[in-house]
Amino acid sequence: MASVNLDTAFTYEAPDVRGHFGPYGGAFVPEILIPALEALRQAYAEARQDPAFWEDYAALLREYVGRPTPLTFAPRLSERLGGMRVFLKREDLCHTGAHKINNTVGQILLAQRMGKKRIIAETGAGQHGVATATVCARFGMQCIVYMGAEDVERQRLNVLRMQLLGAEVRPVESGSRTLKDATNEAIRDWVTNVHDTFYLIGSVVGPHPYPMIVRDFQRIIGDEVRQQLAEQLGRETPDALVACVGGGSNAMGLFYPFLTDRCVRMYGVEAAGEGLEGRHAATLSCGRPGILHGALSYLLQDDDGQVLLAHSISAGLDYPGVGPEHAYLKDLGRVTYVTATDAEALEGVQLLARTEGIIPALETAHAIAFLPRLAQELGPDAVVVVNLSGRGDKDMGTIARYLERKCTNNL
């Protein structure tokens, strides 16, 4: 494992032409999907060069998504943490309530460019499913969302939202009945209907070119942070960036524009679930390199290469894999990956709710939960930006169950 010497210039150009981030990434897919990936790669390469494409994308972000999202100073939270100045990048204020919409807007424009009318997606917590159903409604496309049967039960409200938006939600009963199996089923659908179907992947995962495309559509988060810091503080870079990591798209979006700013520390917070000795979803912290869903990355697996079930209180982090670019950044030592447990995440929810009047998604709460530790490390002068990736409405059922249990126990 190499670590980056922050005293020397750090250049960053990844992935390579075949979609490799160092040893990670690539396209490990059945042959049937190779032409589809090649068509997507070409369509994106052309779109990337086309100013009209980016104008459409920017207009949608502005007028439909509601960007730029604010960079909110969190005075009471900062005070609670002993003075470290915390700024919140408010992706929770995006249309549909999370950063996911940045990517679905970009990919639906690509799908339209490619003449596709049938969109498939997979979802865990439902945020990506809702964002996909939303843009499909907006663009008049057929939308099918695969969702683990267990997640369908856990996230009733998001299922209803998707259905209200005109999407068909297909519960997946195979395997673990969660995101991993929903993804298998989405890929199986794609294999079967590849001629007319666009697979709208929701994170920086999957075969090349998806991790690159999703990162590029999410980098708007970091780009705006840079500009907003300059306007609000007169400095373009913070001392540290913090984001939660499941698949890792909100983190990549925040980190990517700062990767070559060697003074910026970066922290990705994974879900430690019941603790790293128990059931968890801390792929980078505890996994080993492996191949799942089209890419080589870190993976929770047993000694025989069978994929393990992940666990997190947040259905959105409950995935045994992680984006290959994160695997690369971990090995490079450019990003530090830490963990927060279910219990810590719930404390994170309450901390932000009570100090700032913002109820974060359980995913985001993992990033919040890491702040007290970071404050001790960085001290009172540091400027820290936390990606507030989504709002907590969807998790109120889970949060309520926990709080009620806690109250009962205290009686």
């Binding site: 690539g26 490990f28 897919v29 049937i32 991993k180 199996d181 199986r188 294999v191 191949i291 994929v307």
Partner: protein, 275 residues
Amino acid sequence: MITRLQSMFATLRARREKAMGLFLTGGFPDPESTLELLKVIDEAGADFIELGMPFSDPLAEGVPIQRASERALRHGIRLVDVLHMAEAFRSRSQTPLLLMGYVNPVYRYGMQAFCRDAAQAGVDGLILADLPPEESEALAEAAQEAGLAMVYLIAPNTPSERIQQIDALATGFVYAVSITGLTGSTLQSHEAIEAYLARARQLVTRNPLLVGFGIRSHEDALRLGRHTDGFIVGSALIRLVERLWDDAGLSLVDRLEAVQRFVHELKYGTSVPAS
């Protein structure tokens, strides 16, 4: 050195006969029955056998092979057990045997170690459903060193130039997936499939060309086999085995005889009389 696979294809070509490959998941329907089944399948007319390496996330498989994989894993089957099954099979048969599965368990095992151990167990080649040639350089090298054939797949939507490239890289045969779909799918539009196979026949010149996915009967095999050197049956066998083994009223002999009849009929169109 003439490999078992090459000599099998040469023999069949001389007899103007199509090669029939059968797929069975290692450890399915249970660890003990796999070996019995391999023996019966071999004797009933299989020209080569694909032994499946169970995987938790078999994303190119339809429901029958998914279920078979899950069932084998529930029995605690590990990759090393599949290698032992291959070894046991090899100790009493010279029929070519390939391992088929997904890349991660092989990657975890270590590519060189895996190829070496597979070759030592008497395996002749590898087919990995999620390993296109672009990503297979390291494994192909290890396979070559160990003397294992590498089979690559083509699909109806594979461009002609790519089919030629795949033919140039493959060392056992080229596996033509009959349809864009999953294993065990229903064959549709025979004209389109035949046009694709006829095109592939023109392009695959260095390797034998075999067709698989969706073949359930001798009639399917005859029709699709016309343009190829042979055919492969997986899900139809898995479905039959699942049904037979879930029927508590049948004895092991009944079950094995039913499999024998099915396999014989697939290849020859006539059933062997029950003994």
